[in-house]
C-alpha cells in the first residue's frame, strides 16, 4: 500500500513563527503536492514538485515555500505564519501526472495560528 505520512497532525503556532510541515512517501513517486483545504473552498494547490529540487507554484503560493531535497520528502514552509494560514494541509504524491494516475493523500495536518 502506498503511504504518504505527514508527521505533524495537529499544530498550534503563534503569528510570525516559522512553520515546517513535513511529508514522506514510500512509493518512489516522482510527483508530490501540497494542498490546503478550507470549508467551502475545497482543495487548493499551493506547490507541487515533479523531481528532487524542482518545484512549481500552484494556485495559492503566497506566504509559502517548499523544499524537496530527497525524492521521498517534500516540506512545506510557512516563513512567517499568519492567522489566515489556519487550515488543514494535505500532502499528496503520484507516480506520474496524467488523468488516470491516482493521487495518494496523507491524513492531513491541522494548523492553527494564534
Amino acid at each position: 500500500d502506498v503511504k504518504v505520512t505527514q508527521s505533524s497532525r495537529y499544530l498550534v503556532k503563534r503569528t510570525g513563527e516559522k512553520v515546517f510541515l513535513e511529508c514522506v512517501q514510500d512509493m518512489d513517486h516522482e510527483n508530490m503536492f501540497w494542498y490546503r483545504q478550507d470549508p467551502g473552498l475545497g482543495l487548493r494547490l499551493i506547490y507541487f514538485s515533479y523531481d528532487v529540487k524542482m518545484k512549481e507554484k500552484g494556485d495559492i503560493p503566497e506566504g509559502y515555500s517548499v523544499s524537496r531535497e530527497k525524492k521521498e520528502r517534500f516540506s512545506l514552509i510557512l516563513e512567517s505564519a499568519s492567522t489566515n494560514q489556519t487550515s488543514m494541509y494535505l500532502c499528496a504524491s503520484t507516480p506520474a501526472l496524467g488523468g488516470r494516475n491516482t493521487i495518494y493523500f496523507g491524513e492531513g495536518s491541522w494548523l492553527t495560528v494564534v
Binding site: 504518504v4 470549508p39 467551502g40 473552498l41 475545497g42 482543495l43 494547490l45 507541487f48 500552484g58 494535505l90 499528496a92 501526472l97 496524467g98 488523468g99 488516470r100 491516482t102 493521487i103 495518494y104 493523500f105 496523507g106 491524513e107 492531513g108
Partner: protein
C-alpha cells in the same frame, strides 16, 4: 464562477437509500472525471473515475458524466452508514497536469 461546483450539503439520508451526488464544471476540455471520498479527519482517497461521457459502475457506486451539460453524478445504491463522508469531484484535463477539485459534498447516512 468556480471551475468546479458542488453543493456542500450536508446531505442526510436513511440507510438503504439511493444517493445522488452532483457536480458541475465549466471547462469543456476536461476529459477524466474522478471521485474522491474523504472521511472525517482523513485525507481523500480515489473512489472511481470515468473517461469522457457515459456511465461506469463499481459495486454499489455508479459514476455518470454528461459532457454536453457539463454535469457529473455519483450514485450510491443501498447506502450504508460507512458511506458517510465528503465526496469530492475532480475533473481533469490532459492539456494541464493538475486535478481541479470541487468543494465536496458531505453525506450522512443514518442507521
Amino acid at each position: 464562477q468556480k471551475e468546479v461546483e458542488q453543493d456542500p450539503g450536508p446531505l442526510s439520508v436513511p440507510e438503504g437509500a439511493i444517493v445522488s451526488l452532483n457536480c458541475t464544471y465549466s471547462n469543456s476540455a476536461f476529459q477524466y472525471f474522478m471521485w474522491y471520498r474523504q472521511y472525517s479527519r482523513k485525507g481523500p482517497e480515489l473512489l472511481m473515475y470515468t473517461y469522457s461521457s457515459g456511465n461506469k459502475e463499481d459495486g454499489r457506486f455508479t459514476a455518470q458524466v454528461d459532457k454536453s451539460s457539463k454535469y457529473i453524478s455519483l450514485f450510491i445504491r443501498d447506502s450504508q452508514p460507512s458511506d458517510s463522508a465528503t465526496y469530492l469531484c475532480a475533473p481533469y484535463n490532459n492539456a494541464g497536469n493538475m486535478l481541479t477539485f470541487g468543494g465536496g459534498t458531505r453525506l450522512m447516512v443514518k442507521p
